[in-house]
């Protein structure tokens, strides 16, 4: 923040200053991007055949978790945690898939809008319960994960339904040149269109304020309760988007929640969002999701046992967070 004001008052090359301050504020995300680039080079080295289909497959496979990670990031920045994201994804996915079965493309459009609205409602219910009952976020969302998963089972007992062809095509294939997968563009556009205006609004400032110091936020006139409910509602919207992306990429709805909830927590932490709240953004977690998936792919190329890949995922999670806290401790001592 202070670097940004410096850039205004001090004479000199403002652009360079602005870039420097941008880099300073997003060190972690930039480092992750650098690591991702290295990882892509490494992937190409160990598997020279890795090309357009690989990149497109990667983009499609990360889409649901990436959107789930954005949802989780928003709640975690506010100082909460949402353990019902996986269940909300399952619920929105089965509802959209069962409603779209055998319907016209125009009707499917309404289904998509309705599903997004439903996501906002689910998130609002979560947030309202957290604020009204004053029960810790982790407990409320844990219990609500049972409720939403149960509702998903009520809608569809077994995997079924269908996705409208245009929805499927939205994530398949590429844009302009074959190297840019449509799924990645969709992801970036969706996140940018929803998150960036929110981040720059009063609400965006409020969620960081509430996350970093509740009491201070309250005393400076931020409505803590309303901010939390809104954050959960936006998370619900992103969970619904993640659910829709599941429907789009698999063509059906599955009522049993995938491993997305805990993986989203892991991605958020690797993406530089502090579990204590108030720090981080949504783009770091996005890059972290891609890195985690690419490591998985690389391990398949290297013929590593998939079970050891799970071990590696846990070890990376723990190792990165440990390294982060060691750096933090050193800095504090110095």
């Amino acid at each position: 923040m202070s670097a940004a004001t410096d850039a205004v008052t001090r004479p000199g090359p403002r652009v360079a200053d602005a870039m420097l301050s941008f880099a300073r504020r997003n060190t972690w995300t930039l480092a992750l991007l650098g690591f991702l680039a290295l990882l892509l080079v490494f992937t190409k080295l160990i598997n020279p055949g890795y090309g357009i289909p690989g990149v497109q497959g990667l983009a499609i496979s990360v889409l649901p978790l990436a959107l789930a990670a954005v949802a989780q990031a928003i709640v975690v920045i506010t100082g909460g945690i949402d353990l019902s994201i996986g269940s909300m994804m399952a619920l929105t996915s089965v509802i959209s898939a069962s409603l779209m079965l055998g319907q016209s493309p125009e009707f499917a459009m309404f289904v998509v809008l309705g599903t997004l609205l439903l996501g906002i409602v689910l998130g609002t219910v979560n947030g309202t319960l957290v604020v009204v009952t004053r029960v810790p976020d982790i407990v409320v969302t844990l219990a609500m994960s049972f409720v939403w998963a149960g509702c998903a089972l009520l809608v569809l007992r077994t995997p079924g339904g269908a996705a409208a062809p245009w929805l499927r095509e939205l994530v398949l294939g590429s844009v302009l040149i074959p190297w840019i997968p449509k799924a990645a563009v969709v992801l970036l556009v969706v996140v940018a269109v929803i998150w960036i205006p929110l981040r720059r609004s009063r609400f965006g400032l409020s969620i960081y304020a509430v996350g970093s110091n509740r009491l201070a936020a309250f005393r400076s006139g931020v409505s803590v309760g309303r901010t939390k409910v809104l954050a959960y509602a936006v998370a619900g919207l992103f969970a619904a988007l993640a659910g829709l992306s599941l429907t789009a990429s698999t063509g059906i709805g599955t009522p049993v929640p995938g491993p997305y909830t805990l993986q989203s927590v892991a991605a958020v932490v690797l993406g530089g969002v502090s579990l204590a709240g108030g720090r981080g953004g949504v783009f770091g977690p996005l890059v972290a999701v891609v890195i985690l998936q690419l490591i998985r792919t690389d391990m398949t190329f290297l013929n590593v046992n998939t079970n050891l890949a799970t071990v590696a995922q846990g070890a990376i999670l723990v190792g990165v967070v440990m390294a982060g806290s060691i750096i933090e401790m050193r800095r504090r001592r110095a």
Binding site: I81, L83, L129, V132, T133, R134, V135, P136, I138, V139, V140, L142, A143, M144, S145, F146, V147, W148, A149, G150, C151, A152, L153, L154, R157, L262, V265, A266, V269, L275, N305, N307, L308, A309, T310, V311, A312, Q313, G314, A315, L317, V318, V321, M322, S325, I326, M329
Partner: protein, 319 residues
């Protein structure tokens, strides 16, 4: 010292009474919903099912007292039951139990070092450790694919048999453990240290508590408890698989919270947690016996946990 004791709601007879009353209300509701269901046989089944959950909820209680949480209990419990089952035909039951306990303790040691020394958030540390343990257990499954084994007879007896057809045998394991935890929390310096660290970590450090040592020991204890629960679960279900106890993780957290342990640390106790585990088991059994489909049961289960936790928070806020 006296200040530490004053902030324990578990010692507050009014709160413990509230939790007990909730259990009685549920039992009465069961009887009203299905007349004739409440019997000695029913009670035996409930207790037998509640014991493993209570042990796992004990892991959560202990870690939550310090402001932590242990999400690796599911993976550790499944792994121990599974490792034991694979070792039965080779080294035997005794050696199998010891090896499984050592493996669990190692996982707990690593979690404890991460949380205590490197100050990794317990949620993340135990989540990562859970992934590591699950992956290694899967790998072990591939290595040991030829050695079938299965849950040993002794474990099956302890986990599922009942004396006189009523009193579950797994109480033989549970009662000493419960007494140990209850006395450990109330009467030992180590127990007080757990409350102190959770209540005010800075004050605890200034008072000379070495938090990192306490935390390392804590997560080892938690993992060993989880392993014992894993044996009992595989004995109860006669299954040994690497994901056997996964479904217990979320209820174990819920049981501790319903039992009055604060997730922010410093408040609570194991007594309430045992009642919490009983409440959840009675609830699950009641929903089962009503013949609702799985979906409705899940919805009601989640909704009731929110309501009970909310009511509890209200009571603590008032007193």
């Amino acid at each position: 010292m006296s200040a530490v004791e004053e902030v324990r709601p578990a010692r507050n007879p009014w709160l413990t009474w509230v939790t007990w009353r909730r259990l009685f209300a549920l039992v009465i509701a069961s009887e009203l919903a299905r007349p004739g269901i409440v019997s000695l046989d029913w009670a035996g089944v409930i207790v037998r099912a509640a014991v493993p959950l209570a042990i796992l909820a004990g892991c959560q209680t202990l870690t939550m007292l310090t402001g932590g949480i242990d999400l690796s209990v599911g993976a550790v419990a499944s792994m121990s039951g599974f490792v034991l089952a694979t070792l039965v035909s080779g080294p035997g039951v005794g050696a199998g139990i010891i090896i499984a306990l050592i493996a669990a303790a190692l996982a707990g040691l690593l979690s404890g070092i991460g949380v205590g020394v490197f100050r990794v958030h317990p949620l993340i540390m135990t989540l990562g450790m859970g992934l590591i343990v699950l992956g290694l257990a899967n790998w072990w499954q591939l290595v040991m694919v030829q050695a079938g084994g299965g849950t040993p007879e002794v474990i099956r007896f302890i986990g599922s048999a009942r004396f006189e057809g009523i009193i579950p045998v797994n109480l033989v394991v549970f009662i000493p453990l419960a007494v140990l935890i209850l006395l450990g929390l109330r009467r030992t310096g180590y127990g007080r240290m757990l409350y102190a660290i959770g209540d005010n970590p800075v004050a605890a450090r200034l008072a000379g508590a070495r938090a990192w040592q306490v935390l390392i020991v804590l997560y080892v204890i938690s993992a060993v408890l989880a392993a014992i629960a894993g044996f009992l679960i595989s004995g109860l279900t006669n299954v040994a698989s690497v994901s056997l106890a996964d479904s217990y993780v979320l209820p174990s957290v819920a049981a501790a919270v319903i039992g009055g342990t604060s997730i922010f640390g410093g408040r609570g106790g194991f007594g309430g947690t045992i009642v919490g585990a009983l409440i959840l088991t009675v609830l699950a059994t009641l929903l089962n016996s009503l013949g609702y489909p799985e979906a409705v049961r899940q919805v009601l289960f989640g909704a009731i946990i929110v309501v009970v936790a909310a009511a509890y928070t209200r009571v603590t806020a008032e007193s």
